[in-house]
Point group: C2
Chain length 146, copies 2
DNA sequence: ATGGATGCAAATGATTTGCAGAATG
DNA sequence: CATTCTGCAAATCATTTGCATCCAT
């Protein structure tokens, strides 16, 4: 199962850094990995609190930083809203089409673009690690309304 | 001259919205258009203040919002730093290679990627307006140091 | 003259940090 | 046991807003 891999990767990272495992850390990881994607710190806080009402908000952020560092999560910051966190590990990388009207996120992937990005980086003596492609515009429903 | 075009576009927008032209607005636009790119609100504030020490910080933000709305500027939010503003109008669109070690921004452009993005959007019944592509990794200087 | 624009200071909102006690390896 | 982690509250930091006044049209 894929979630198991992600857990392993996270705990391997934790151990390598000389850090410890905790109940809270485990719960936050679980909620994050079970999220559809694009989850906020607040949303994680609410979900974890439902299971363990004693958890503090700061703990969410501290562990989110760890998810980022371990490469499991990626930040998405758009406009003035709060930062969203997306899974990097379990799922295949994808790009986003973002509707300027209704805010809808459409996940897409194009192998040719992926390949050209590698090439583009290489041509610039750059070793790519990850990337983010966001295309802003209007989705089908909103295309006539703006 | 290209800067002149950008100015026209901005003031056309202002007028269309029933807004007014002011000394401050003019100065902020000037500083923004003269910036190399990736400028922050603070940096604009400092530069404008050098010419007009009475200007307030809030005015920078209020006018930056206008630059965004008029389509002249684009926001770039990375990590925990402050938002950077980049010119959209005068210069050709470009993507970024961002070094995870030294923070260097390399501007790149690939026609094929641009074209494939159009196609990708179209296939999803999506009308693209603008996009943002950021590739994170290690630049030539840092590639051996991490 | 009229309503948008500005400067200032205070407010906001998200994220971070200091600290003392709790828990892990 | 030594250290990391946690919850809490206070602190930060960037950005936004309320308000009285100013100024462009």
């Amino acid at each position: 199962m894929i979630k198991k891999e992600a857990r392993k990767r996270f705990f391997d990272y934790i151990k390598k850094q000389g850090l410890r495992n905790t109940r809270q850390r485990e719960e936050i990881l679980e909620v994050f990995l079970s999220s559809g994607g694009h989850i906020t710190a607040d949303e994680i806080f609410e979900k974890v609190k439902a299971r363990d009402s004693s958890i503090g908000y700061a703990t969410i952020h501290r562990n989110l930083a760890l998810l980022l560092d371990s490469g499991l999560a990626e930040e998405i910051k758009i406009g003035k809203g709060k930062t969203r966190y997306e899974q990097m590990h379990m799922r295949q990388h994808h790009d986003h089409l973002i509707c300027l009207k209704c805010g809808k996120f459409i996940e897409v992937r194009d192998e040719n673009i992926e390949r050209l990005q590698e090439k583009l980086a290489e041509e610039n003596d750059f070793k790519p690690v990850r990337h983010k492609l966001e295309i802003y515009g209007y989705c089908k429903k909103c295309i006539n309304k703006h």
